[in-house]
């Protein structure tokens, strides 16, 4: 077990800067998730930590040891790859024992460790099989087994669940979280799926174009995103964004636009009077029950699409050119073409600078 630090780490491929000045302190026993769209530098960061990718500049430390020029084999890490990367010519037992054999453990010791790891993952009955005789989920377990059997200082996981079908992914997500609670090994997990990030991470690192956008706990990311990118990336369906202007009227501040949008905010935004901003509201913060909401925060809309998900309903509505997604609990109460009044929660909104995209609420 160990801490991991990235200090001013940069990575260039030719002229292209893939990771720009990454600074990150990962605590011992922490489960940290790097998340972002493809090409954001999250996998590259992980591979630099593993030693599979050279660092252009900066330092990476595992514990107190600088590992910049250390071979992968000497870093005492284990990694799970997206395509599992099992050794196809070896059976499951040999796949799991490979690292231990290279480290010259005794045969009896290897057998004990492999069996122990296999028991934890419920794959004891598969030890004699070759990878091609396994299902996707079983391969995934073997790949994880190969990682945990060595009891490394740090686990690295590079999109380990993306090749599984949706149902299995949800199941393995929970199992991985359970496994981490049991083993308490520092874990760095890369994914492009914000749901995985939100459900598994103690902390989440949101990256975009090689730059860290925000490092925070899941609830902090959800409730106070630093900028419009994080706000739009975390949460499903994504946050609604409405371009508008700040207007002072009778001593109160409104956000308005030409589509007839108008929303009263309790924040003065004095510097922004008459300037363009982006208003954000999450689908779950919109309600069709307008009784408790001031009429300044309600909006007349037309229903375009109704999606009934059983426990909840997604309503795609519009006014003028603007489309908005709303998420309600329960069965749909409206049908396509209806004109309804929706209440935008007066206390749970976000405002971003139109130019920089940074949050104006802090």
């Amino acid at each position: 077990m160990a801490t991991v630090s990235f200090k001013n780490v940069c990575k260039n491929f030719g002229d292209q800067e893939v990771v720009k000045n990454l600074n990150l302190e990962i605590e011992d026993q922490e489960f940290i998730v790097l998340v972002g769209p493809s090409g954001c530098g999250k996998s590259t960061s992980l591979r630099m930590l593993a030693g599979l990718e050279e660092i252009t500049s900066g330092d990476i430390l595992i514990g107190d040891t600088k590992v910049n020029d250390m071979e992968p084999k000497d870093r005492d890490i284990a990694m799970v790859f997206q395509n599992y990367a099992l050794y196809p010519h070896m059976n499951v037992y040999d796949n799991m024992a490979f690292g231990l054999k290279l480290r010259k453990h005794s045969a009896s010791e290897i057998e004990r460790q492999v069996n122990e790891a296999a028991t934890i993952l419920g794959i004891e009955h598969l030890l004699e099989r070759k990878p091609k005789e396994l299902s996707g989920g079983q391969r995934q377990r073997v790949a994880i087994g190969r990682a945990i059997v060595r009891e490394p200082k740090v686990f690295l996981m590079d999109e380990p669940l993306s090749n599984l079908d949706a149902k299995l992914r949800v199941q393995m997500r929970a199992e991985l979280a359970k496994l981490h609670q049991k083993l308490k090994t520092t874990c760095i997990y890369v994914t492009h799926d914000q749901t995985e990030a939100m459900t598994m991470g103690d902390r989440i690192v949101v990256m975009k174009d090689g730059v860290v956008q925000q490092v925070a706990s899941p609830s902090e990311l959800y409730n106070s995103p630093n900028n419009i990118f994080v706000a739009g990336f975390i949460g499903s369906p994504a946050m609604n964004f409405i371009d508008c202007k700040v207007k002072q009227h009778n001593g109160q501040t409104y956000l308005v636009n030409e589509d007839g949008f108008s929303y009263l905010i309790d924040n003065q935004l004095a510097d922004y009077n008459d300037k363009e901003v982006v208003f954000g509201i999450r689908p779950e913060d919109i309600s069709y029950d307008t009784t408790d909401t001031p009429k300044e925060n309600c909006q007349q809309v037309r229903v375009d699409v109704v999606e009934n998900l059983g426990a909840e309903t997604l309503l795609y509505v519009s006014f003028g050119e603007q489309s908005v997604v709303c998420r309600f609990m329960g069965a749909p109460k409206h049908s396509v073409g209806n004109n309804i009044n929706i209440a935008l929660n007066p206390n749970r909104y976000y405002i971003f600078d139109k130019e920089t995209g940074n949050s104006l609420l802090k």
Partner: protein, 279 residues
């Protein structure tokens, strides 16, 4: 009705395909069968009309070739020249191919193309310069010279083939091995190499065939003692006539090792030659 029609059509298609395959098979195999059968007949029996397919075989021609002539030595020369060149080409080609597939340096593609371009030289164009070089190093007439000549053609081929096989292998498995505790070399020979084994075998067979079947190099670079079988076979056609019995027996001996090798590794051969074709 529609169903019946479909079945008839299927049967016709099947019959046509089988007929075509039979013709192709007879076309390919008849000369070989003819040669093998002839080698087991007496000279008189060889030309009897109509040809006999059932007869009492005689091994007298073979016995004569191995006992009276130098045939055993020619066979030995062929095996040594072709075998050594194949081993050298595979060994260096595997390392070189891996380096070209996995290495990350400038001009990689150009180097790879330059290497394979040397294989594109017609043998006739290479023989004269090679002859001059070999003459300087006193390699004319030696089996070693022949091995060098074969390797100049087999090595670029083997290297290129192995490079393609390694390049098709996802590097993640070697990365996983390195994270697991393997050195780069261990990741190469314990993880990557076993997976391209079919390709290695296929490449080996092709190198072996090139050297084994070669006549041009062997006829120029070998002396009396270092002749290979194809050269020896050519000498059976002389001004005074053709030694038909020996020619047939020599032909049989030439193709036999390749047929056996091909059959022994045909599982790998199919997989190796179709590597990359199936994606």
């Amino acid at each position: 009705m529609a169903k019946d029609k479909l079945t008839t059509r299927k049967i016709v298609t099947r019959v046509l395909i089988l007929t075509a395959l039979t013709i192709a098979m007879v076309w390919a195999l008849l000369p070989i069968v003819w040669m093998v059968l002839s080698s087991l007949k007496t000279e008189a029996g060889m030309f009897s009309m109509p040809p006999k397919f059932i007869f009492k075989p005689t091994f007298s021609t073979y016995a004569f070739m191995f006992d009276e002539g130098n045939f055993g030595q020619f066979l030995n020369n062929s095996l040594i020249a072709a075998g050594s060149s194949t081993v050298v080409a595979l060994l260096l080609g595997t390392f070189g191919g891996y380096a070209l597939a996995r290495g990350n340096y400038r001009g990689k593609k150009h180097i790879a193309f330059w290497i394979i371009s040397t294989r594109m030289t017609p043998i006739a164009a290479a023989i004269v310069p090679l002859y001059l070089i070999f003459a300087n190093f006193h390699l004319i007439g030696s089996t070693f010279g022949l091995v060098v000549a074969y390797t100049t053609f087999n090595l670029p081929f083997a290297l290129w083939m192995m490079m393609t096989f390694f390049a098709e292998l996802p590097p993640d498995m070697e990365h996983a091995a390195m994270v697991d505790g393997a050195t780069k070399f261990q990741a190469f020979y314990r993880i990557a190499l076993p997976q391209v084994a079919p390709g290695l075998v296929a490449t080996g067979i092709l190198c072996l065939m090139f050297a084994w079947n070669d006549f041009a190099f062997a006829s120029v670079f070998t002396g009396h003692d270092t002749q290979t079988i194809p050269v020896a076979a050519s000498l059976l056609v002389s001004q005074t006539g053709i030694a038909w019995g020996q020619a047939m027996a020599t032909g049989t001996v030439i193709i036999l090792p390749m047929v056996i090798a091909g059959l022994a590794v045909r599982k790998y051969l199919v997989r190796g030659l179709s590597m990359g074709a199936v994606k």
